[in-house]
Symmetry: C2
Subunit: 335 residues, 2 copies
């Protein structure tokens, strides 16, 4: 592994994505990306008794499908790195409790899929694991109950609010052959510009996305057009606009020709998502669905996946704390 | 990095503990280990307005002291890996929000310090970081509010309940010189034997500690007496008894000559801790206080630190889910 500049890690072995899969709920399956998902459930309870169990089953489904598509068995995995938004990351713990695979819980809020891939690539490159799996999930109903109101209350959402995706994504990383590879990673630092509005996560996260992506471009000596896509996940419409503005005003860079955001891609405007989608599962399912499928089909050769998270809790917001953002990035390449 | 057997990682570079520190609350400072802590606060609020901010200040204090004792600046760190028990790991996020250091949130329940050290050693060994810091914390008052009852309610505790430590620990890992080094790591898998009693975490965690420690001993071809200490953190009295019994009955091995548990060490029996101490901060402060100081002073040459966590949430317990344990281990050596 080489360091480029202070923070960009370049992988000699370029860990391969050996398999990947996405599993989503009904609303996500009705959106513009529906054809790219491996599993669309028409039952958001997934046949379970609680929303939390439903989320864990959704994550387990994505994990099982990713392992299956990699041609491996779960017992071939050396590690599972997984996280979600629920208190004590319980849906990830439950999803892998019977796997028999060493388990590392992560908490990066909605950046968790990127955190897992970046960490996972370091572990494969360094020899700590031959094959590992990174996964993340979220569920609209478990998140609403935990962060906001009981569903039956029918709370009104503000225009800047994002809709927590009922979705999960999982990817198997390893050495050896593979079309899709991770060439670089950059771990994000917290950036807190003082946003206190828990219904405007995009604004809280955009500055950290700017910090990570601009550092990556600078350290690689790259311009946005050196990539076919730079994808954040998930700033939503509001945060994505702020990110584009930050690049234009600070650096005179127009990000728009190659830029998209998982939170803006997941739902159609007819689906009433307000500022777009969010939740750990959003960027996980958009990456492990349309983005990687499009790469594999030859549409993109080089892609930056920059997962963004808002580091807050209902308690910290109620206590008046500001919300820091964090953004971890990986560079993916079709070899 | 070499793999020994299927799961034990042996580090060629043996990442060094360049600095470590512990910060604890009043009750912990009155216990038998009081002289080993870097900071004992006589104010559990740490001058803050809320328990959550107090916990984050405690963790930040341990981080600042560990960095200071390593002779480095915070800006010399490539990464901070940190976690805690609070929803969305908020005390760790707040503790490092202004650090400017790339931040990876972990969730391993009470095994978080071991998860951070094991992951951190892999990252240093693999070249992903020259220097990084692992930290964990817990606070009796923030944990009671979140997991159980408001403090003022004065709820009665069962005999098998452990007392969440108001404590934090932090350690700086890096290449180069250093007396204390990490030679091996083993990531734990979840083990769930069906325990549902959230007031008996020791029973829920002991089987995972057995899985991890027995695998480590087998793969290293070692016996307990090859180590000066094998320390779990934090099974408490009940869980420690179960672990000793599992080794005796399954393998005919007597662990007791070298075995201790952070949860049994932290409080004196006169401090009414019931089954002992728990919380991410318990094993973090016992390791980054007495254990590493004793190693450095020459008392121990070779030590296994096996952090144990119970993967549950108040919601999962209320919904009747069983509690899986997980245990990550590192082997420490005085060089």
């Amino acid at each position: 592994m080489k360091r480029i500049g202070k923070r960009t890690l370049a992988f000699d072995s370029k860990p391969a994505l050996l398999g990947y899969a996405s599993a989503v709920g009904e609303k996500e399956g009705q959106g513009p990306l529906h054809e790219f998902f491996d599993m669309v459930s028409d039952d958001d309870l997934m046949g379970e008794k609680t929303w939390e169990l439903a989320e864990s089953k959704l994550q387990k489904t994505a994990i099982d499908l990713a392992v299956q598509k990699s041609g491996l068995q779960k017992s071939d995995l050396d590690l599972i790195l997984a996280g979600d938004l629920l208190n004590q990351c319980i849906s990830s713990a439950l999803a892998s409790s019977e796997s028999g695979v060493p388990f590392l819980g992560l908490y990066g809020a909605c950046s968790t899929m990127a955190e897992g891939l970046a960490l996972g690539a370091c572990l494969v490159e360094g020899g700590a694991a031959d094959r590992l799996l990174a996964a993340a999930s979220s569920h609209f109903c478990s998140a609403e109950r935990q962060y906001r109101f009981p569903l039956a209350y029918g709370g009104q959402r503000t225009p800047t609010a994002q809709w927590t995706a009922t979705a999960a994504g999982a990817a198997v990383l390893g050495g050896g052959k593979g079309d899709l590879r991770i060439t670089h990673a950059l771990f994000g630092r917290q950036v807190d510009l003082g946003v206190k509005d828990a219904n405007n996560m995009g604004a809280a996260m955009a500055p950290s996305a700017y910090d990570t992506i601009s550092t990556l471009l600078t350290e690689l000596g790259a311009e946005p057009r050196d990539f076919d896509q730079i994808v954040t996940g998930d700033l939503g419409h509001v945060g994505a606009d702020i990110l584009v503005t930050l690049f234009r005003e600070n650096d005179g860079i127009d990000l728009t020709p190659v830029y998209s955001d998982c939170g803006s891609l997941l739902y159609g405007s007819d689906q009433d998502p307000h500022a777009g989608a969010s939740g750990c599962g959003c960027s996980a399912c958009v990456l492990c669905g349309p983005l990687l499928r499009d790469m594999q089909a030859g549409k993109y050769k080089r892609l930056v996946f920059a997962g963004t998270g808002a580091l807050m809790s209902p308690v910290s917001v109620q206590q008046g704390q500001t919300i820091a953002g964090v953004c971890h990035a990986v560079v993916l390449e079709r070899g």
